[in-house]
């Protein structure tokens, strides 16, 4: 009986920890020291804010209507946006960040390295094919570093749609 109780306790602990872990995002997990670092600019948009977007009148901002519609649509399912950016040591930070992220938890969606020395990585954490977090890691020789974490149910298709709508805008101009 003693062993059973012990096992049950362990089980409960494990479950509670995995649940707690599911709440965390990559920045909390791997980059907490960056947040307090003076070199970085930190931005956080909460899920409450995303819910406000629906009622937000963006007429005052110079924005394409089609675009803001797509953005609102994506933001509806977002639970948090965290941005870390820096204007120095772009490449070093990029390499450091990349080595920190557990490849077991995050799957590489896309890695791009352009010939002007810019690296872009897309990493996703998914659960049953639903994307829970999208990480965008940018860093290169031009000393810019950015780490974006989108937490929430993301639809890659609508993100691509956004790119297409931007493309069309350019053509119009």
């Amino acid at each position: 009986m003693k062993y059973f109780k012990l096992m049950a306790l362990c089980g409960v602990l494990l479950v509670s920890f995995t649940q707690a872990q599911a709440q965390a995002n990559a920045i909390d997990k791997y980059f907490s020291q960056y947040v307090d670092d003076e070199r970085f600019t930190v931005v956080y948009v909460s899920s409450k804010m995303f819910q406000l977007f629906d009622r937000l009148d963006v007429g005052g901002l110079d924005m394409d209507e089609e675009e803001s519609k797509i953005v609102k649509n994506i933001a509806k399912d977002l639970r948090g946006l965290r941005i870390l950016s820096a204007d120095e040591d772009g490449l070093a930070l990029y390499k450091e960040a990349k080595s920190k992220i557990s490849t077991q938890e995050y799957e590489v969606l896309m890695t791009v390295r352009t010939n002007d020395g810019e690296n872009v990585d897309f990493l996703i954490k998914d659960n049953d094919n639903i994307i829970e977090e999208l990480l965008l890691l940018v860093g290169g020789e031009d000393d810019e570093f950015a780490l974006l974490s989108f937490v929430g149910r993301l639809d890659l298709n609508s993100i691509v749609k956004l790119a297409n709508s931007m493309e069309e805008d350019k053509k119009k101009e």
């Binding site: 872990q21 948009v45 977002l78 872009v120």
Partner: protein, 168 residues
């Protein structure tokens, strides 16, 4: 004692109502050489009691008993030296390994959580318009990068296919 008396005692005996003295009387009667024929059938019973009651443990009994117990105690571990002991130890080892694995797992997953003392509210954007602009910018950036990546992949594929076309 005559037949009637004994018979009466016997009846009460089987009903469980005889006193110790009366039982003594019965035993004495059946210990005699001459027993009434009609009572012959009960003789072995009381004779047996008589024998059993006089039976005593001899002096060596304790020693023999202890010896026997000791011998058995020796035999028990001998018997279980085989598979059983291995199995028992294996299960213990497995339990320990399990507990350690669980502890390690908990420790491992707890580690990053301990660092999450980030007060995000410090960095929270409270102006909806600004938040929207930022989100849009972030999404557009991400979107543009995806597009760039896939475009690059596409042009690479085109390049490779034209190369193979030429080389044909």
């Amino acid at each position: 004692m005559d037949y009637k008396q004994i018979n009466g005692l016997l009846e009460r005996y089987f009903e469980g109502q005889t006193s110790l003295e009366e039982e003594q009387q019965l035993q004495q009667y059946f210990a005699q050489a001459v027993i009434d024929e009609r009572l012959q059938q009960f003789a072995p019973l009381f004779q047996f009691f008589e024998v059993e009651q006089t039976a005593a443990l001899d002096e060596q009994f304790d020693a023999r008993l202890l010896e026997a117990i000791e011998e058995q105690a020796k035999v028990v571990p001998m018997r279980s030296t085989g598979r059983r002991v291995i199995l028992r130890w294996l299960s213990r080892a497995a339990a320990i390994v399990l507990i350690f694995a669980a502890a390690w797992w908990v420790y491992d997953t707890q580690q990053p959580l301990e660092q999450t003392g980030i007060d995000w509210s410090k960095y929270e954007v409270t102006d909806p318009q600004l938040a929207f602009a930022l989100t849009q910018k972030a999404l557009k950036g991400a979107s543009a990068q995806i597009k760039k990546g896939s475009d690059m992949a596409q042009s690479e594929v085109k390049y490779i296919s034209t190369m193979t076309e030429i080389l044909k």
